[in-house]
Symmetry: D3
Subunit: 335 residues, 6 copies
């Protein structure tokens, strides 16, 4: 089992019950989540020793975040308390043909307005195997772009592998801004979640020739050429039939080869938020455990599929449960 | 944007949670709705100025109806207060193979027992573009058959277009009674929701020859022959795979031509009640906005499909949301 | 209408809401059920006079069981009160790809620890047409293996038909133990729920030759050869696409012929527990009413399909509702 | 233990959650109840053999009534099925200073519109010790005034004691109408719930002289003078401090003597509906069990106080629980 | 009936269920409210014509505010749409000895960041009898201090009476800032909610001599001396026994005389938020209806007491209900 | 801040909603708790480093216990996994005059059936300041009486103070058995929760002379005479007015002096379970922090009073919150 640190913003999600519009809801379901926090929880569930670095306000909502993380065994000694507010967002839960829709209210959060790194980085990364962060963090502010680099460098210095999930969000920054930041960050990265869209629009890779049999392989190859330091690329292919039914397939570029998982027909979707983080969490687990590439991508995709069957942002399945899910196929009562 | 008046009964629906039988339910969900009220709300959502004419008792349930309508911006100055009771019905919500089932308890309602028109009709229809009523109103009583005609005549006099949704309910009157009443009413109508069943069983149109390619076009033509005053006919084709999955397609006869929408596979149905009213509301919006026939039928069908994804009788989507739904396809998270 | 007695354990099921993991649930749904109790309720719903024999503790949970049964009109005069506890189990409700999972906490229940038959058997079975019990009862203890035989003999003596549902549960006994017990019990049985697995692993019947067109017919024939006293065998074929979608087909061996129902595509499954009992209940109803074999298997399978659409262990549909479901197809609103 | 028959209307109550106005409620709690049905359930809880006579519609709501009664062991073989509807009422639940408020929607119910007695009265009352009915039944219609008398006569003929709860409701009939009917009915009665208000306004008894120490004794004496056939009068004194806090004291006139219970300070009231019926049920139990008068009134008042602590119309406590409540005082955890 | 305009911020309140800590809540109840919006709704309930001026974001939460106001018949044509966000706050609901506690997250709201008055003030106040605003508005920003004065002047110009509720909030500004602003605003005011604390700490009035019999009268007199333009002062005296039990008494200074209501023992408090606004609403209704001072203060206090019995920020009782509450005392079922 | 270890059983509580009888509940609220676990959580909330020793089954319910403890920051490295089941109990929540009532289903739990101490005791108690256990543990089995002594001896050896809460439960052992065990255990104890009942019935202390002014002081003195090793005794005086209203006062014998807290009128009680553990937790915190005796007893009693206002077994208030509650009195909104 490895030692892992993840860093990022964690927010309060306020969502409607299925079949309710936001403007007619007399209550909201409360979930706490964020990409890197969700990955932290996944890895803790799999038995790794995980710390989550972030900053939340020093009141009940900050405590709620802390309780949430601690309940999964994630170490919160690097979770700072202070600052003005917890970022929130409202989600009208989708169903059938109607997509979920989101209203962000995240500006000015305790994490987003941080002006410097308030941790002793040396202590943070000592003896740590893996540091994970996503593209949402540098997207939060000009300041955070620099801080993210600073963090990666400190982690690398301390001997960590660096894992980065590009996770581009058009509401937070432009493609140009993102592209520029990635130029700075990706040379420090070892493991990267990135797909065709990232290659085309953020990394400036030219479109694959029409005749390319599997364009994704093409893009993985080109990205690796650009950033030879990155040994592993991964992403999912998702076909959205409706808000309640998606097809999901994981793909992995590792050891100069391409691997893909079986296709999961994810039906009766309960909650899609965090599906990508569950995938990343499963993948990093496979890497930390030095599983075979095919086993890694199968595990990560199964973990992501399972995530869709529960409420909340984070994967709540341990290693044995994911393995048993892979083994047994789907939907029989386990007595 | 147009000025619209709709008239009809509005009832309290008491329904079970999914997966519960009526006799075992310890609570009922409460929704207020009725065909014409639902159309009124749809049109108000799209930005039209809409008044709803009806009568409800002068107690909390009447006030509940008023609050419901007002919350959508529907004018309630023509909503009379008084009379003995609010019509109610109980619905055991269906799911999967089990159909919803309904127990009506609507007899003797404040609206149904009205003996004369208690409004000043001249004021009601002044400056109004469209008057909408359904076949449920004349079905309520012998008296209401006459009053419905009186209303249509007054509205026509005032320059309104007359919209009529046949909406035949076998529990309220016989086919013979309905047919006789339609003879009286349809000559006053401009826009009519009617389909094959109505043509065959209420309007006495002979069955289409076996060789007819699209019998619906045949029936639309024959109905228009019978009632040349009606410029527009419309109806939906619904294939019920289960209570949770229907195929839905809108059809329109307008300017002597036939139009049909793409087929919507409506899955994970939340609440089917009011789907037809959402369709009518979308269609009338298209007509009031003078959209092209194909755009009208696409909009109306999309509005109806969206209605299936929310609880309650009425469409809660505005013009921009329906348009964006048509544009973006279904089920992706809108961040 | 017949007179029926069923006997078995009844337990408290504590289950999660859909989309919740057991460890995160702040409440559990409570249902009372057990194979033979569920069959009792089904038959009472169809109009038969039914008594349920069991033992529950003399406190509120015992009273809850009694109220549950009485509410369906099942006679509880043979429901003993006393003993240490009510058997319980926890169920994490499945959805989509994620299967339901069950934690049993049933050891030491008032019923399981019974050391002798505390009823006057002569009174119990006087004038009774059918006695139904399942393989779960002899699985509970060495003692119960003997008591089950004693009960069957007394019932047979009194002129009852004996109905037995093998319902093998690997958590309660081994295949060997079960096989040995069945040797003792099946010679007393008239109607038996048993399928391919039972034939192969419990009754020691050799695998059907590769070339067998319908192996199930083969196994039914072989089982009847072994136990010529059994006039009727039945079982369901279930294909699990996911926890929310199964295919279900009923099969019946009766009068030396094979019958099967139409295939039900059971979607949007609400609660699968008790689906087999609903099937058995429908089948026994058909036998008691002397319906034709094809009608019996169609009725039983329809009853089972309907069961999947409601919460709780027991079938809550009467004869007319099942018949109307068969007649009308699925999913249309019944106004 | 006695054999008892009660007769009356049973209705569906649709009530709000605490702290909600009726017009803003998106769901209603459903309870089934009626004075005589509630008394029937109380007596069944105490171990008596009880039948309830009424008429409910032949659909799910009628079945719900039947299940409700059966779950308490009340015999429903005299519960007729048919007629137009189930009477309903809406209740905005009170709390603190705000009183509960009620909207009746009971006109035209299956029971109220009965035109003749559809039972074989001889069978109904054979071997029955006590027949209980209330003043709500004759208040329902001119017709029911006659039928009530007919029932009482038949019951008396068969050897029953007649119990009558005046329960005057000003919304159903005038004091004059009630007074006239009581003239006819009370000469047939043995046990009567009546208090000061009934004496003054329905039975025309003159106001007690100013100097009377305990006017209630005066009124009991005068009523007994008027109706010497009535051996037992009883009523409660209730002081309403708020919707959540009442003082409650039971009074009894029996064997020419006056008895009163300790005063109960009923606080944190959950549901006051049916408190009077729980009192009547306890009292009739005491009479059937031939308890001493003081024990009777203490038991009845304790039963009524307990009723206030649970949702729903009916008393859900058995003899042992009421006795233990009397013995132990209030509010300690019973481990 | 009068014509009224109120202006202020309206926020989303996210509150816990009773007995839950904020950090452990998996859902929050959603209510929309604000002092001036609550007064607007009260006055609309009493039949006045009321407009509410504010600004909310142009997304679902803004629409939710609009629907909330419209459902009570408040005109929303002056409710602007736009700006960054809706102010929110979290409330851990109190009970018994534990007080409610609040976390504000209101900074940067669409209303608070307004830099100029975006309405045509002339149109806003034309024909309006009363303009109501509270001290929360000038507390929001330096800018809003000026804008509030501008609004008051425009309203005064148009012939409105000016009503002002000081409503000092220490979290928004200092006593010094507030005192300075009040110097500017109060000379424009006709009706003012202010009490002893306001006099002492904001208006710099010296402490009443020890021997003063009723210090409140002293402070009312002194405040009137300072601001002779203010004809009416009012405030409540609240004794907090616990979060669930308060004593409440209304006081009024009008026509140079002092009036006070009966003392209300407000028990089983459901929701105290908005109690002061309900009081103000009742008082302004009394003034608009030219009731006698004693009737005004009795009405206002009764309205406030009733408010405590329902969830949400706003008074939901009409004139007849408040009057009937005053007449009937508390807590009896109204059948 | 101190280092603390507590040991004991932790159970699943399944309780009804207020106003529901157990037999009518269709769901149960789930809480995890036990005396020593609750004390552990209290102390962790106050900032101490706390480990909880127990054993729970290795399935979802065991994980639920672990998540519960971890969410409060309690170390679970000494929480063993294994054994047959988690002890449970059912609670019908009391309200008003109706007391809560409890059905235990705890026999045979993983903790209760432990046959030896499966921890390395030396590691457990190294550097620990305080070891806390209650009389429930030795009550579980003959075996556990010995093991408890073994634990205390090991803890004492390691330099821990020993805290013991007698907490006598008549359902688990007789007074004689308890008395005999206490003889063995109390000589090892430093801090003891014990009151008059314990003195009289378990420790065989003679009744205080009639003339004793404060008998509790007498018993504290006598107990200290018997066990001079015990420096601190404490207990609460609770007067039960109803299930919803208790008076609560803490008492402390320390440094040969008697201290008592102010009396708390605990009204609108949400959940009384764990009130004693919150008291013990507060008291041990005071001792660990070396507060003055009067401050200790005030803090402990306030913590206990606050506990009554929240659902669940454990105190959820930190040091600052309890202190602020003491300072501010009760029930005002904290904005």
């Amino acid at each position: 089992m490895g030692r892992v640190v993840t860093l990022g913003e964690i927010m309060l999600r306020l969502s409607t019950e299925q079949g309710q519009r936001l403007q007619d809801s007399d209550h909201f379901c409360a979930h706490y989540g964020g990409g890197e926090a969700n990955v932290a929880i996944s890895l803790a569930n799999y038995g790794h020793t995980v710390s989550f670095m972030s900053k939340v306000p020093e009141h009940s909502l900050g405590l709620a975040v802390e309780k949430h993380l601690r309940s999964y065994g994630v170490d919160t000694s690097l979770l700072l308390k202070g600052g003005p507010r917890l970022g929130t967002y409202y989600m009208e839960t989708g169903i059938g043909e109607r997509a979920a829709s989101v209203i962000y209210d995240r500006a000015g959060s305790s994490f987003a307005v941080m002006g410097c790194l308030e941790w002793s980085l040396e202590d943070c990364f000592k003896g740590v195997d893996l540091f994970h962060v996503s593209g949402i963090t540098p997207a939060l502010s000009e300041k955070w772009r620099g801080l993210t680099k600073e963090l990666m460098e400190a982690a690398k210095q301390a001997g960590c592998q660096i894992s980065f999930d590009i996770n581009y969000r058009g509401k937070l920054w432009t493609q140009q801004e993102a592209g520029k930041a990635l130029e700075q960050l990706l040379p420090l990265v070892d493991i990267c979640s990135a797909g065709e869209m990232d290659a085309l629009y953020l990394l400036g890779i030219a479109k694959a020739p029409e005749t390319t049999v599997n364009p994704l392989i093409y893009y993985y190859e080109k990205m690796q050429e650009r950033f030879p330091n990155i040994q592993t690329f991964y992403s999912t292919k998702r076909t959205v039939h409706s808000a309640s039914e998606n097809d999901l397939q994981g793909t992995l570029w590792m050891k100069d080869s391409y691997f893909e998982s079986p296709l999961h027909q994810v039906t009766s979707i309960v909650d899609r938020v965090g599906g990508g983080d569950a995938f990343a969490g499963g993948l990093l687990h496979g890497i930390l455990e030095e599983m075979q590439p095919q086993a890694i991508i199968d595990f990560a995709t199964a973990a992501s599929a399972l995530k869709h069957t529960i409420h909340g942002d984070c994967n709540q399945f341990n290693q044995a449960e994911v393995a048993s899910f892979i083994a047994s196929g789907s939907g029989k009562i386990i007595r």
